[in-house]
Subunit: 452 residues, 3 copies
Amino acid sequence: MNRTLKVLTLALLGVPLLLAAHPAAAAVETETAFVLNSFSFLVHGFLVMFMAAGFAMLESGLVRSKNTAAICLKNIALYAIAGLMYYIIGYSLMYTDVPEGGFMGAISFLYNPSAAELALINAETATPEMVKAVTDNGYSVMSDWFFQMVFVATAASVVSGTLAERIKVWPFMIFVVILTAIIYPIQGSWVWGGGWLDALGFSDFAGSTLVHSVGGWCALTGAIILGARKGKYGADGSVHPMPGANMPLATLGAFILWFGWFGFNGGSQLALGSALDVAAMAIVYVNTNLAAAAGVVTAMILTQLLYKKMDLSMALNGALAGLVSITAGPDLQNHLLAIIVGAIGATLVVFAVPLLDKLKIDDVVGAIPVHLVAGIWGTLAVGIFGSGSLVAQATGVVAIGAFVIVASAIVWLILKYTVGIRVGEEEEHLGTDRTELGMEAYPEFGRGSQTI
Amino acid sequence: MNRTLKVLTLALLGVPLLLAAHPAAAAVETETAFVLNSFSFLVHGFLVMFMAAGFAMLESGLVRSKNTAAICLKNIALYAIAGLMYYIIGYSLMYTDVPEGGFMGAISFLYNPSAAELALINAETATPEMVKAVTDNGYSVMSDWFFQMVFVATAASVVSGTLAERIKVWPFMIFVVILTAIIYPIQGSWVWGGGWLDALGFSDFAGSTLVHSVGGWCALTGAIILGARKGKYGADGSVHPMPGANMPLATLGAFILWFGWFGFNGGSQLALGSALDVAAMAIVYVNTNLAAAAGVVTAMILTQLLYKKMDLSMALNGALAGLVSITAGPDLQNHLLAIIVGAIGATLVVFAVPLLDKLKIDDVVGAIPVHLVAGIWGTLAVGIFGSGSLVAQATGVVAIGAFVIVASAIVWLILKYTVGIRVGEEEEHLGTDRTELGMEAYPEFGRGSQTI
Amino acid sequence: MNRTLKVLTLALLGVPLLLAAHPAAAAVETETAFVLNSFSFLVHGFLVMFMAAGFAMLESGLVRSKNTAAICLKNIALYAIAGLMYYIIGYSLMYTDVPEGGFMGAISFLYNPSAAELALINAETATPEMVKAVTDNGYSVMSDWFFQMVFVATAASVVSGTLAERIKVWPFMIFVVILTAIIYPIQGSWVWGGGWLDALGFSDFAGSTLVHSVGGWCALTGAIILGARKGKYGADGSVHPMPGANMPLATLGAFILWFGWFGFNGGSQLALGSALDVAAMAIVYVNTNLAAAAGVVTAMILTQLLYKKMDLSMALNGALAGLVSITAGPDLQNHLLAIIVGAIGATLVVFAVPLLDKLKIDDVVGAIPVHLVAGIWGTLAVGIFGSGSLVAQATGVVAIGAFVIVASAIVWLILKYTVGIRVGEEEEHLGTDRTELGMEAYPEFGRGSQTI
């Protein structure tokens, strides 16, 4: 169901009807529910916002030191661009006046507070009618905007890691503009905006497909069109590891993402104004945590069995795989299922990482396995363990995949044959920090950014 | 009082009674209180969850670079394992059907949402009776589970730092399984589950003893059984400093822990659904902050006086000592007392660190002084400054200490004489990152992980 | 309006009046509003607290490695000192019994919970009168204290970065004591305490002037009195860059600050207990985010145009400039204005950084441009785009500027001519980590702290 309508239904039909019918039930009153619903968007929104820092640290830790400053810049810039574009056009395209079963929302610009809210805020004396005009919406419009905005930024964050160490900074920024202004909102309108995939029964609670796979498809098309890093793959099919420069930062990044994911999935309950909502939200928190935990343990055990050593980056990616997998359906009512979903997600990632290398698709941080592969799995899992239909789920995966592959490939190719998307060989050897930014990330540390 | 009962009493007896007697008092209605109580568990729970990142960064910063990746892996793995074990068995052992004055709860598996909650969530049309069946509990059951789960993980986090740089990864993981599935829940049931120590009047608001000292005792038995790092102590009694490789990360870790502690102590008010609760919670926040602040300043002044230099790691441990000290009784009604409690805690740590070295107990990050020594002090302080009885407090410290020492020593010894717990000399020299994980944490940074 | 009175007015006059006049309006009941108002202070307060970690990481990343441990120590110590001094005297000086149009509050010590709150908490059976005596205040007194306390710490955090790499640690600490106990609270009482500048109509929503410029003025007087780092400026007017040692940490710091700023500005709505409040708060969140985003993009574009390269530290400072700029008036009702305010703030910073160098004022991290220049701009912007009067805004900027310049200069000069504020030349060359703390921040990393 339309994300916006869902909370309206709960707030306006569910609880108040109870109240009317049974005044003794002491249900949450309308204005209190409005405050709680809106505050949930703000609190969970700031958690998701912090995931931008998580991606920045994860990717900073997993690239080589000569490309670290550039990845930092890309991460803060993409978060900034995502917010601006979503304000300028994205939110409207995704949520405003999407026709029943439609393919996109309104082309209108500069989303702002509602007239009712401004009237209430600016009133000398607020009347109950003014309050009612505001609370009838179920939540404050800008609290919802804020919560939806941080999701766009997450989709964009997925892309930067895969393409690190060889992409030019400005063309990457242009791609982010188009992704967050147009590509993400259009496919988002199909489901959360109440468009055709929603009408079909496709279900994606917090965005295994709508956010993570979308980022993953863009990363995949980009990686193919951009090509692998120089020296990554030998002519003989050999793979040369290029280990990340700062593993504790990568670990911090994974922890921050896990932390922020309580906002991502928990806030996607979209309401807090009733016992039902908070009980359901708590279930979402628990499933989110258990799926991630299962992902870590699965990745540890599998790498031990396969390679006779544990692997820290695989454990981190195992956590993220568990998180991405559970995101489409974190409302599972038996928590054991969340453990199974997360464990399968991590298993897929452990096998997808070497598979990509075999295909010579160079994904610097493993974002394609984590966000795309586990995202597809999580979406299908809703049809297996959850309340969704497997056909509808598969339809959504394919439809959104096809749209994003085509749209993103067109953008990458246009960029490639106009401004160019890849730094020169010499620049790649010296590192993008020096050539694109004229600086070093760690100017005093040892072998540093010159070598390797 | 039993943690679960406490909030029930407040939610069901306190506030609604007022409401019934004085309808004009406009008390918080039952369902709103339910939402607020549950949301407090979720918000404070995610703060405590983030403490896992704090421990990871603190320990990453304080070990040498050749053991950094291993400590990162241990930290994310222990958080994952703690959550899984607490779901599988731990929570039930601690909270389900603990007999009045008893020694443990039910041996039942896979804790899941209540039937009443599932009925409400799955209902086509929710009836007031369904809502009442849920709100009668005072809070959502899984929100409480989530909040309690993150505490187990904290206890486990304490152990990894002390034993760093020489313990094998997998045996450590097995220890964490047993700690979080059995040892922690059993002693927890004695107090927070409503068992025999609770009946005796022992009081531990947020876990100076139940969480921090428990971790500290496990670390102490582990450190003794495992032995000191090669070269740490000379035959002549000399102590060789092995400074941490990344002090800003350690600083970040301390800040994250301080941040998360507002969840740890504030959330342990266990309710938010009344003016009383939120006023008391605010007092807890303030005491938590002042005790930590006093710990920092005390440690700085003392190290200046004792060693003629300030010491950053002691300042960080001073903050943590203040936090651990106030955790048993952060509800002090005169904030000056919190400053005193924190200052004494930090003083004890400043003297306990060299004392441990004198005893040749090798604690890599200072976790035993911080979590065990300050934890004992904080628990006793409740009997001195707070509302507790000193005899009851001392009884709790001794009883839980004895239980955890014996239980953890048995586990460590079994592990030692079966799979072994210590890496070989060569492995220790090369670093556990290479030998256990086959990687380096900072492969590009200078003298790096080969040496020292 | 007085910060304390503002929320009282909303809670006691606004909403309850509605309730009385129109019982059907189902407004938020008094005690629920009390809980929500207080909880907002706690949640937003912990976010602001975490900004201390943000400053610590930003500054750790931007100094050279030989001064990193010292800056870490200064940051955790100043947060600790700020909290203690604000408890001992600061809060009372700022908020207790400030005369209408007055110049400071009460000289009273050790701020503690109200008698009404303690009576409620300690009651065997709480009466509705007891609850009413507490809820009449609109919020819990210590929740407000906590929220105000973290703001003092922010002001102090601004100072440490500018003066890094050459200031002695203990004299810096003494300066922080006086800043947080006396200077900050006195000027704060003029506006948020309801003193003379508030009477004049000066408006500073969350502290562009009261917090950020105050820190900036102290940094400026300190930088002038302390002098530039040895070798920073050549006799020929040349400027020698001294790049920061750890750019991903600086990036993390900027992200943490951005994250915490939702607490800084959002919490400054000072209430959450009505639809009006939460709708207004959401607007604040959105403006805060858009201004920062505009700051990043503006700084990126300008540095590309001016220097033909993008600059990561300028992008980070652009974000912070946007944040500081919007802080005086984040309640703008057209979000496009927030983008403009943030973009202008970042533009000023891009030009102020080289200007300071021309003036040979050595600001290690760029805190003066970001917090002082953008702070002044943001305060004036309220008179241009917002509801304030430009004359009143300028008066406030000048009055607080003059007071803080004089007061801070006196303190710096007294410190200079008594204990001394600057380390010796040899100490500066070796780095303050070794000479002040006797340690290294990164003892294993390459060229490390000896050189440069």
